[in-house]
Amino acid sequence: MLLREQLNGVLDALQTVLLGKEEPLRLALTCLLARGHLLIEDLPGMGKTTLAHALAHVTGLSDTRVQFTSDMLPADILGVSIFEPSDSRFRFHPGPVFTQLLLADEINRTTPKTQSALLEAMEEGQVSVDGERHALPTPFFVIATQNPSSQYGTFPLPESQLDRFLMRITLGYPAASVERELLKSGGTRHRIEDLPRCLTPEELVSAQQACEQVHASDSLIDYVQRLLQFTRDHAEFSYGMSPRGGLALLRCARCWAWLSGRDHVVPEDVQAVLAAVVTHRVRAADDVASREGDRLTARLLEEVDVLG
């Protein structure tokens, strides 16, 4: 109970810096609880960086920010082994990836080579440099941001790489009233330092473990399976969702249910996380640019019967 209140405290604190963005913030927190990585897709200046900083601050995670550019090399992220003349051997100098919360800004600006180096580290929780393995700290949470890929000079992430992100969310423009408030207060950056530290990393880990205990009944599993099956049976989906996508959906629904104060998952939990989990994993058959995920997700939501 206490843990859950603390997490809700995190949510409240975040809302003070990102006004009127309860849902994306809750999703981001869900993603963190589900030990997944988050992809925020939005135009510059929408508060992506603020979200990452604030999240790191209130959860007490160490954070590093990496601004991705097109001339970046894998070693710039992972780290490098350097020969030390003093003791005549190579020593590994860890890169910025060795942190608990990594903000990878504009990940689609860099080359696929560098992208995949990061994604590999995300997937495996460790880094291999010169045949030596270096474990990443736990918890390890990546928030990557990217601008919509229609912008010039980007390398859009392929499906297989998108799949590594548990969720993809957008923040979107603030509501008019909220924006007025924002304009009046004159930005938020300085206020992040004032946020309370609501959680220790250890508490975060136990919260993550608590989420895994949330009960998912047979009826609910059936519903999730019907959702997956729907993406495979209907022609407007270019390809169906993978079992990994299904597992991700269920994991997120568990965390959402836990955050909502339940010890069991209900279909509404699944529906709440559905768009964030599914949209970047499906593509319409006639959609080369992968712009239509929202429409497909909406169909999925509307047409799959909760009760079977």
Binding site: H215, S217, D218, V266, P267, E268, E302, D305, L307
Partner: protein, 658 residues
């Protein structure tokens, strides 16, 4: 293909089944058939272990030709059931070596079933039945095992077989009770050990005493009322009316005699005889029967004879009168017939008879009394009278003076005839052992007896038993007891029958009798039973009775199938919820697919139906808990059912709110 192959345990069951079903036939099969079976069993094991490969087409052909020749050689032209059974066993043995797929195994097992059934052609004892039952379980296990995986233990297989066979039991009983016993199919029995002992239609000295060595069962009798006392238990079988100086026999002219006239005088006894197969047509009857079964006839001399030799156990009911007058008048021809004697021989006996007749003053009754008195003085009744040479009756009367019943009967009839009193020898059984456990009389071959009937003016044929004069204890107790008392050495086989062993044997025999009477010879009972049950034996009644149970079973099965199909849609709670959802949906707004039931209730029903808000929320809560939290629980299910029922009743009658 792989799925059709047979598991290791299935092969073992098959081999065991083959051995068990063949065992009952071992005693009469030509030796080469069991040998062939053992060889193919061995070959099967070797093939199964992978040491040998499956036989080639040529080898199989050679085996088939050899086995066919063997059958022809062994059985020749004989086309009896034995040949057929031998053919079945041989084909089963040959099939063993080419089992590869499930289909082959099925053929083998079906043949095994059939071979098992043929065991009853040769023996129908209760032991055979028990054995067949045990073997049946094994064959069923073999059948079952080819449908199950390897690794099911033998015990488990047996348990499954019993479980599967149990429902067939009532059907079996029903079929036993009502299935018509179709002739001749039903009556094929080959008790091939049938070198039966029994009375023959001739009587020479030593014949009956030989029978006394045999404790084989002759017949059993149950009485409607009290059984007659032992001294009155004279079971007539044959009348011997011709003497050739050595032996008594039935004369060919006897068929020309007229039927004898019987005047019953009382002492009525009603009884039922179960006669063991004797391979002879004649039947036993208590002295003297009135009516006869319609498949038998009364012969001159008032003996009963069936139209066919008795080859299987028969059962018939008779009424006898113990006091009667038989044939009060004799024609000249009849008198001559019953006075027939050889011209010469046994002069001393004739002389003795003449002397007695003179002494009796020509009165036949007095003559008989003298004769019996003579026996009573110095004669010995024994099973081992020694050999008599020459004029046997003279030697018996004058010298050895010891004999068994046939000696006395033969001598008495001879002497009666020699002085002009019509006489005849009657053979049959006397006495019997009373079995208290099933209340029946059991007569064995050692109860065989011979006595004399003499014709007296006005009284007709009168039974005279010289044995009663010599050894009255033979007549008054059973032959068994008597023989044990006089000749213990002769009857060693029965020496054990004392005390509790006797009781045990009687119980066993009673059990056997019940088995034969109620199980094997059930036909007669069947008719009574059906008549009682159905109140008649009209065709429509029997047909309805036979068709009804099967029809009921079929209806039951189809009902179950139908129920299963409708129930598959979901449990009753789900059905109630769906029903409620449809009715409430028609009233308010339908549930959208993405809405869970509780979400729909909260968003669409509660706002528009505030009167039922509490119950609706309760239903939503219950459904949520059932579906997503705790799973189905009985009390919760009941609550849901009650709520949906109540809510459905309260549904407002108004059109859909937009």
């Amino acid at each position: 293909m792989k799925g059709q192959q047979i598991s290791r345990s299935a092969v073992m069951w098959q081999l065991l089944a083959c051995v068990l079903v063949s065992l009952p036939h071992l005693s009469w099969l030509p030796a080469w058939i069991p040998v062939l079976l053992m060889l193919t069993l061995g070959a099967r094991v070797m093939m199964h272990l992978g040491r040998w490969s499956l036989p080639s087409r040529t080898l199989k052909l050679v085996l088939v030709v050899a086995a066919t020749l063997g059958l022809i050689f062994s059985f020749g032209q004989q086309a009896g059931p034995e040949t057929m059974v031998a053919l079945l066993v041989v084909s089963m043995a040959l099939k063993l070596i080419e089992i590869y797929r499930r289909r082959d195994a099925l053929v083998l097992i079906y043949v095994a079933f059939f071979v098992l059934g043929t065991a009853f052609l040769f023996s129908s004892s209760v032991w055979t039945a028990l054995y067949a039952l045990a073997a049946l379980v094994v064959v069923l296990a073999a059948l079952l095992s080819i449908h199950q995986r390897d690794g099911v233990s033998a015990l488990q297989t047996l348990r499954r077989v019993l479980l599967l066979a149990a429902p067939a039991l009532p059907l079996m009983v029903l079929l036993f009770l009502v299935f018509p016993r179709l002739e001749p199919l039903w009556s094929v029995t080959l008790d091939s050990g049938g070198a039966t002992t029994g009375l023959s239609d001739t009587l020479s000295p030593g014949d009956v005493s030989q029978l006394a060595q045999s404790d084989e069962l002759a017949f059993r009798v149950t009485f409607d009322a009290e059984p007659p006392v032992p001294a009155e238990r004279y079971w007539r079988v044959l009348v011997l009316d011709r003497f050739d100086g050595r032996q008594w026999s039935r004369s060919p002219q006897r068929e020309r005699l007229r039927q004898e006239k019987l005047e019953p005088l009382g002492g009525e006894v009603r009884y039922e005889v179960v006669l063991e197969p004797s391979q002879r047509p004649w039947l036993v009857a208590l002295d003297q029967p009135l009516a006869v079964p319609d498949w038998a006839a009364v012969k001159p001399g008032r003996t009963l004879e069936a139209r066919e030799p008795v080859e299987r156990r028969v059962r018939y009911t008779l009424v006898s009168h113990r006091r009667y007058r038989l044939q009060p008048m004799l024609t000249q021809q009849e008198r001559a017939h019953y006075l027939q004697l050889p011209e010469r021989g046994n002069g001393e006996a004739r002389a003795l008879a003449r002397q007695w007749l003179a002494q009796a003053g020509g009165d036949s009754a007095a003559f008989i009394a003298l004769m019996l008195n003579y026996y009573n003085q110095s004669f010995t009744y024994t099973l081992s009278p020694g050999r008599l040479l020459g004029d046997r009756i003279d030697r018996f009367l004058m010298e050895s003076q010891q004999g068994y019943c046939e000696h006395f009967a033969s001598a008495s009839a001879f002497m009666l005839r020699s002085v002009g009193i019509p006489a005849r020898v009657v053979t049959g059984y006397q006495g019997g052992e009373w079995n208290p456990h099933q209340s029946y009389l059991q007569v064995r071959q050692y109860d065989a007896h011979a006595w004399v009937e003499a014709w007296q003016e006005g009284r007709g044929w009168v039974r005279i038993d010289p044995t009663a004069a010599v050894a009255p204890e033979r007549i008054e107790s059973s032959a068994d007891v008597f023989l044990r008392s006089v000749d213990s050495g002769q009857v060693a086989s029965r020496a054990l029958q004392t005390g509790w062993l006797l009781g045990l044997r009687q119980r066993y025999d009673a059990f056997n009798f019940a088995w034969q009477r109620w199980v094997l010879n059930y036909e007669g009972e069947q008719e009574h039973l059906l008549r009682d049950w159905l109140g008649g034996l009209d065709y429509w009644r029997v047909a309805a009775f036979l068709l009804l149970p099967g029809g009921l079973v079929l209806v039951g099965l189809s009902m179950r199938q139908w129920m299963a199909r409708t129930l598959r849609r979901g449990d009753p709670v789900e059905a109630a919820l769906i029903g409620f959802q449809q009715r409430a949906g028609a009233c308010f707004s339908r549930r959208q697919p993405q809405q869970s039931l509780s979400a729909w209730i909260h968003s669409d029903l509660v706002p528009h139906w505030p009167e039922a808000a509490d119950e609706l929320m309760q239903l939503a809560e219950l459904d949520n808990a059932r579906r997503y939290r705790y799973g189905a629980q009985d009390d919760q299910d009941q609550a849901i059912l009650a709520l949906t029922r109540r809510l459905a009743k309260q549904l407002p009658r108004r059109t859909r709110v937009v």
